[in-house]
């Protein structure tokens, strides 16, 4: 398969304080160069006998393919990022304020990241993260560093070919000039497209019906804030033998002996139970508690979740 050239997205002569010579050289030599390299690598890969290719040849080609492909994609986004008046639209300003505290805070971080890459090489990317439904500013020291599953919607090229001809070593002036040329209307459209990308599919456990789960961070916050909540560790007995660990501030009760301790719980306060990882023991116990009239949920990452967020753990004496 051959990768096709894309037309330059911005009109070079309309950019302020970025010379046509710089933009043309960037498009023809660096973007075009990456695309030509990508096609040459692709052609070579297509003719390769994978069963008999030495590892170093394959690694070398696949590495160069990744670099050239990302360079191609990021340059296309870079040229599409410019051509505007640098004034954020109402919608983009709101989204940035939502994700960074304020538009100014976003700009300060993005700009500082660009300055910090001066004299080296890399990219500063504003990237939509479907997992969390938010934007982040992403650093990349070279073309192939990318946030997994992120959708970049604004790209600042910090390779020195992007500015040296016009600005010499003055990377700061280049970053400021880039920001004055950002096409925010187009960025808003790219944001809207990116925001339609669904996050990773959540874990579904239809066998447990509609029993509700709660995250470990939320439980920790409720406990720390002194909110009424009854948290019970219901891992199987074998998990909590002497010498094994248990979350600080939590009591263990045997899930096999529910009837013996159900009377300790109050129906007027929510109950959270959990097992080792958030699968059947916790879910089933929560179901039984609900059936008995308790406001019960299971904690969805179990005891492992406590350890994963760094909650204090003590050893069972």
């Amino acid at each position: 398969m051959r990768y096709k050239l894309k037309q330059i997205h911005c009109r070079p002569w309309t950019l302020s304080y970025l010379s046509v010579k710089l933009i043309e050289s960037h498009y023809e030599n660096n973007y075009g160069g990456a695309l030509r390299r990508l096609n040459a690598i692709t052609e070579q890969l297509e003719s390769l006998d994978f069963a008999n290719t030495p590892a170093h040849v394959l690694n070398g080609l696949k590495r160069e393919e990744l670099v050239a492909l990302n360079s191609t994609l990021l340059h296309e986004l870079y040229f599409a990022s410019m051509g505007g008046d640098g004034q954020p639209t109402k919608k983009t300003a709101e989204v940035l304020a939502r994700d960074f505290g304020s538009l100014e805070r976003w700009r300060a971080e993005f700009r500082a990241m660009g300055y910090a890459l001066g004299g080296g090489s890399g990219w500063v990317l504003l990237t939509y993260l479907p997992r969390d439904g938010r934007l982040i500013n992403q650093y990349a020291a070279e073309h192939s560093q990318a946030v997994a599953s992120g959708v970049p919607i604004l790209a600042l090229d910090m390779y020195e070919h992007a500015y040296h001809m016009d600005f010499g070593a003055n990377a700061k002036a280049y970053v400021d000039t880039f920001l004055r040329n950002v096409d925010w209307a187009a960025l808003e459209q790219r944001y809207e497209d990116a925001a339609k990308v669904p996050g990773p599919r959540p874990l579904e456990q239809p066998e447990f019906g509609d029993i509700q789960s709660i995250g470990v961070e939320e439980v920790k916050e409720m406990m720390a804030a002194g909110k009424p909540v009854q948290v019970v560790d219901v891992r199987p007995r074998a998990s909590v033998l002497r010498g094994q660990d248990i979350a600080d501030g939590v009591q263990w009760r045997d899930p096999e002996q529910l009837q013996q301790w159900i009377g300790e719980l109050s129906k007027s306060e929510p109950v959270v139970v959990y097992c080792a990882y958030g699968f059947h023991v916790g879910c089933k116990t929560a179901i039984k508690l609900r059936e008995a009239g308790f406001d019960a949920k299971y904690m969805n990452s179990g005891h492992s979740g406590w350890r994963a967020i760094g909650h204090p753990i003590k050893t069972n004496a």
């Binding site: 050289s25 960037h26 023809e28 030599n29 660096n30 160069g33 990456a34 670099v67 001066g118 004299g119 080296g120 090489s121 020291a141 070279e142 390779y159 020195e160 070919h161 040296h164 001809m165 010499g168 070593a169």
Partner: protein
């Protein structure tokens, strides 16, 4: 230098080499104040990573600048070839000098449009010279000693060559100072000591106490006024158009007028003499001043090194300068 502009080289030295050095010093002072038992791992990793990159950038830039330039006051150097010992080593390890050159040049050109270094290094472990690839400052063949390094970061060529990386590489190959590269090879294999006069910048005085580094000068200028060195800015009339600033408090003089200005120099305190880059202009003046009994020292790297360490300057003041052809009443 032949086909590499002064603007490019000075920007490279002051901004990129000097920038790396300033960053390295800032990182070191951060590291000096860190509480190692309490610091979060990501802070330790982040700082040590940046320290590695900045240190490697400093060292490689020094090798790069040291590899350039002919043997003399700006003659073209395209005809020079490796001295005998290094030429033999290249033949031994790469088949021929031309074989080595073809690989080295191709590797450099392959890095065009990206960033990195191509390094000719001596590896004690492998017992040979190798051409090694580096996509950033910190890629390195462990325990090898760089003998020649070509900077393929785009700051090394974009001002002069734009995206034409291949033309830059060819131009660098014409500007190699093979005497120095050969000397570094002998140093790497343990045949000479680093104090060898071959490692002195061209024209600099050979005695250690006839020179002062930019950092030492900065420290000395912080002394009480009576112990502070006097600052002498020596500049050829033809180089004045290249100058815009000077060290605060310096007196600017023409080297040709030395018999006139030497009479006003103090004998009770050191005199720091600088020119643009610390080669023969300050070197000759210091040699003459020392012959006449003054405690004169040449500032290593001149005002360019002063810029690179972030030293303060003021606009150039020509009021003490002699023989200004264009000086008008």
């Amino acid at each position: 230098m032949n086909g590499l502009s002064e603007r490019l080289l000075v920007s490279h030295y002051v901004n990129n080499y000097g920038g790396a050095l300033r960053r390295l010093n800032a990182i070191r002072s951060r590291l000096a104040s860190i509480d190692w038992t309490q610091a979060p791992t990501y802070e330790v990793n982040g700082l040590k990573r940046e320290e590695l990159i900045a240190s490697a950038s400093v060292i490689l830039h020094e090798v790069y600048f040291d590899s350039l330039g002919g043997y003399g006051d700006n003659p073209p150097t395209g005809k020079e070839e490796p001295p005998e010992e290094l030429a033999h080593a290249l033949e031994r390890d790469f088949g021929s000098y031309q074989g080595w050159r073809a690989e080295f040049v191709a590797m450099a050109k392959a890095l065009g449009g990206g960033s990195g270094w191509v390094i000719l290094a001596w590896s004690e472990r492998l017992g040979r010279l190798v051409n090694h690839w580096a996509a950033d400052h910190a890629h390195n063949l462990p325990a090898s000693v760089p003998v020649l390094a070509i900077d393929m970061y785009e700051h090394a060529y974009h001002l002069d060559f734009g995206a034409k990386a291949a033309a830059y590489v060819d131009q660098v190959m014409l500007n190699l100072n093979w005497q120095r590269i050969g000397a570094r090879y002998r140093l790497a294999i343990g045949a000479v000591a680093a104090e060898d006069p071959l490692f002195l910048p061209y024209g600099a005085p050979p005695e250690k106490d006839a020179r002062i580094s930019a950092e030492e000068l900065k420290a000395a200028l912080a002394h009480a006024p009576d112990r502070r060195p006097m600052l002498l800015d020596i500049c050829q009339p033809r180089d004045l158009p290249r100058r815009t600033d000077m060290l605060p408090g310096a007196q600017m003089h023409a080297p040709g007028a030395l018999p006139r200005w030497i009479k006003d120099l103090p004998r009770d305190r050191p005199i720091a003499v600088y020119c643009i880059c610390g080669f023969q202009v300050s070197g000759k003046a210091v040699t003459e001043l020392r012959r006449q009994g003054f405690d004169a020292r040449a500032v290593e790297g001149g005002i360019t090194a002063w810029h690179a360490i972030g030293g303060a300057t003021v606009p150039m003041d020509l009021s003490t300068y002699e023989d200004l052809p264009h000086k008008t009443g």
